[in-house]
Amino acid sequence: MRVLMFGWEFPPHITGGLGTACFGMTKGLAKNGVEVLFVVPKAHGDEDQTSVRLLNASDVTVDIDHETERSYWDRVQYMEIGSNIIPYVGPEQYEIMVEEQRRHATRGFRSSVFAPRYEFSGKYGANLMEEVARYALIGSSLATKYDFDVIHAHDWLTYSAGIAAKETTGKPLVVHMHATEFDRSGENINTDVYAIERCGMEAADIVITVSDWTRNIVIEKYGINPDKVITVHNAVEPSDKSLDEYERSGLKNKVVTFLGRITYQKGPEYFVEAAYKILQVDPSIHFVMAGTGDLLQKMIKRVAQLKIGANFHFTGFLKGNDVDQMFAMTDVFVMPSISEPFGIVPLEAMRLKVPVVISKQSGVSEVVEHALKVDFWDINGLADAIYGLCKYKAVSDVFRKEGKEEVDNLKWEYASKKIKNVYELAINKTR
């Protein structure tokens, strides 16, 4: 079986969970004997319009050295399309960022701690919707050149490409909802984005959601027929890294970490407020907010206002090894997301034996047992859970041990098996 997959990022060039998920999924599919043609936009702009090449070790830094796994990679082809599409950014924000980037480029000044991760070639339009259309155009022409059985599109930016490919080839389309516009923007959604999401799901033969939380949103808020919406929970790649490979925290006290984009969806405010409550009781605990986003300045201001700056640290955007390094220094990991379709970061933390507190409004809470679960808005509950894991060794020890075991069994190999089943279902449907 062969699948044409439209994504938007691929490790090691990642900005969030989607890239990591696609990486694991692709690998899992390869293990299940599925061949993948993976298409991603790339914002460099100086390469050929459609540079097609085979994935090799120099492109990906993760896990590729394993002799045993190398054979699977022969089943994956990786393609880049010259485009400025970037993940996790809405149309309005996109314009602002392009503008910012232009100004920064002329000023030649870069903030060292929070250097923007995004780079624009400046060659393409500043309008995200145009870019989406562009991607779709190239995607459909690409589809005619290759032979495959099913199309798989990840999130709204690639839906147009998926639909176009389906129209040109008549092959079944599976769309994968990793996040909905409601997760990103709350109730004040961008209606253009909503329309594309809905259109993609309507056109799809099957919709995969990453959790039942997301499945409900898709059914209730997009009016999609429940019969064709199937939940496949994300998984996580088991890590052979151990904590011993990393530096431990230089602080004598407990470290509590938030790691993710600092945006509305992730609930950073609740983390700050809970930190303040805990510090009233135990002023020795330290809190770290790792990541960047449009609420970063607001969070810094709030921390200063609460006068907890000596115990509350910001690291800026972390990637690769720095993320695991951060976990190695962490005693409790917190994900207070307001609406989290899945949320893979807690699994990465658990993998390194870090106890976690997660919000009930997350997909990941559907699959893990050994985590404390609270409502995101319940600051007292959040503070309680964090404090408990910091203070009571009996609980945190169990979470460390059992949590790791639990996560090690959430393999992409199994999740990808389910995705393969979905493909078969979709193919049968269109026959």
Partner: protein, 375 residues
């Protein structure tokens, strides 16, 4: 004869390095050594050496008629010792002529006077000791960081044994009164207060080179001052010469011709602050119940305090003063002084364009966390 008093500030803070969360508890070196060295060597080359040379020449030519005052921050002296010892030698020679009064200030150019009286006292005492050690002088005239002053600070400084203090002739405090007189502190009348004539000081420091302004203009301006006004105080950052104002603006020529022109064409003579304060009678009270400074149009404290980040950083830093003092640890004391530099808090100010106050705050607090951990 009326009096013209020039005073120059020589200061360099320690610039801090990027200090990440991951460094806390592991690496205790906080400074950007490269940039500190570059900055010090650059200012020594462009300003300290040529300007000292110019003044040496003037003193040789004019003898005791050429007098002025300089204030050195402790952190500037420390960095000169390490990165530009030749500049320090040059200053020593200049002070040894006896025509230069060395002023007292806070060791680290800090805002301790606003935060903690004991910390303030310690800063002043350490600075006094350093001036004795380096220049073999006993300082008698105090000027606070960026001329920060209030009635209370003036009284605190009097308690430390000073009887003259320099501050800003701020319009909002002076009202109709002229800065060109000697005043006294509102709490302790034994403390005399000399005021900066900001109009002329800024004329030189900010406008020189941008607008037509030469020695004749300066002389004419002096002559236009009512005859009964007895003293004009021009306080300028020493760096203005060569750094703030590039040599190509003609600022060195300006300072070269100015002394003779003043002596020949006006009834002003050059004086040092303490010398003249002994001779003049104070004419009134300078009443500043609310602290003022010489910074920005507002002449207030908003450069260093008032926003949440500045207030958190300041409260955290001065909150550990007692423990630092009790530790009697020389390395801790050294870092304590560097971390106090007022520039750290000015960099967290959100009122200036092109700043990175949030980044600075985060970085500073990381360092502070490590520092507190060590105590």
């Amino acid at each position: 004869m009326r009096s013209l008093c020039f005073y120059f500030q020589v200061h360099q803070p320690y610039r801090l390095r990027t200090y990440r969360f991951f460094d806390i508890g592991k690496r205790h070196f906080y400074y950007d050594e490269y940039n500190n060295r570059i900055a010090m060597q650059r200012v020594a080359e462009r300003c300290y050496l040529p300007m000292n040379q110019l003044f040496m020449k003037k003193i040789e030519q004019l003898g005791s008629k050429m007098k002025f005052a300089i204030s050195f921050s402790g952190t500037a002296i420390e960095q000169m010792e390490v990165y530009a010892p030749y500049a320090l030698e040059s200053f020593k020679k200049l002070v040894a002529t006896g025509n230069v009064e060395v002023l007292a200030e806070t060791y680290s150019h800090s805002v301790s006077s606003l935060m903690n009286k004991d910390a303030f006292k310690m800063e002043v005492a350490e600075h006094k000791r350093l001036m004795k050690e380096i220049f073999n002088v006993r300082t008698k005239t105090f000027h606070n960081t960026e001329l920060i002053y209030s009635n209370e600070i003036g009284a605190d400084v009097a308690e430390m044994g000073f009887d003259l203090m320099l501050t800003e002739g701020a319009k909002h405090v002076l009202g109709w009164k002229s800065p060109n007189y000697l005043y006294v502190n509102a709490i302790n009348p034994k403390m005399k207060v000399m005021l900066r004539n900001w109009k002329m000081s800024d004329e030189i420091a900010l406008k020189f080179g941008n607008e037509k302004f030469n020695v004749d203009d300066f002389v004419n301006w002096l002559n236009s001052i009512p005859k009964e006004e007895e003293i004009v105080n021009i306080f300028i950052d020493y760096e203005t010469f060569g750094e703030g104002k590039d040599a190509s603006t003609g600022i060195f020529d300006f300072m070269n011709y100015l002394p003779e022109a003043v002596l020949k064409n006006t009834d002003f003579q050059f004086v040092t602050p303490h010398h003249i304060a002994d001779k003049l009678q104070p004419t009134g009270v300078f009443d500043a119940p609310i602290p003022l400074s010489c910074r920005d149009e507002e002449r207030d404290l908003s450069t260093w305090m008032g926003n949440d980040m500045q207030d958190d950083a300041l409260a955290t830093l001065y909150g550990c003063f007692k423990k630092v003092k009790a530790s009697k640890d020389e390395e801790l004391m050294r870092d304590w002084r560097a971390l106090q530099a007022s520039e750290n808090f000015a960099a967290m100010c959100t009122k200036y364009p092109n700043g990175t106050p949030y980044d600075y705050y985060i970085n500073y607090m990381n360092i502070l966390t490590d520092f507190i951990n060590r105590i």
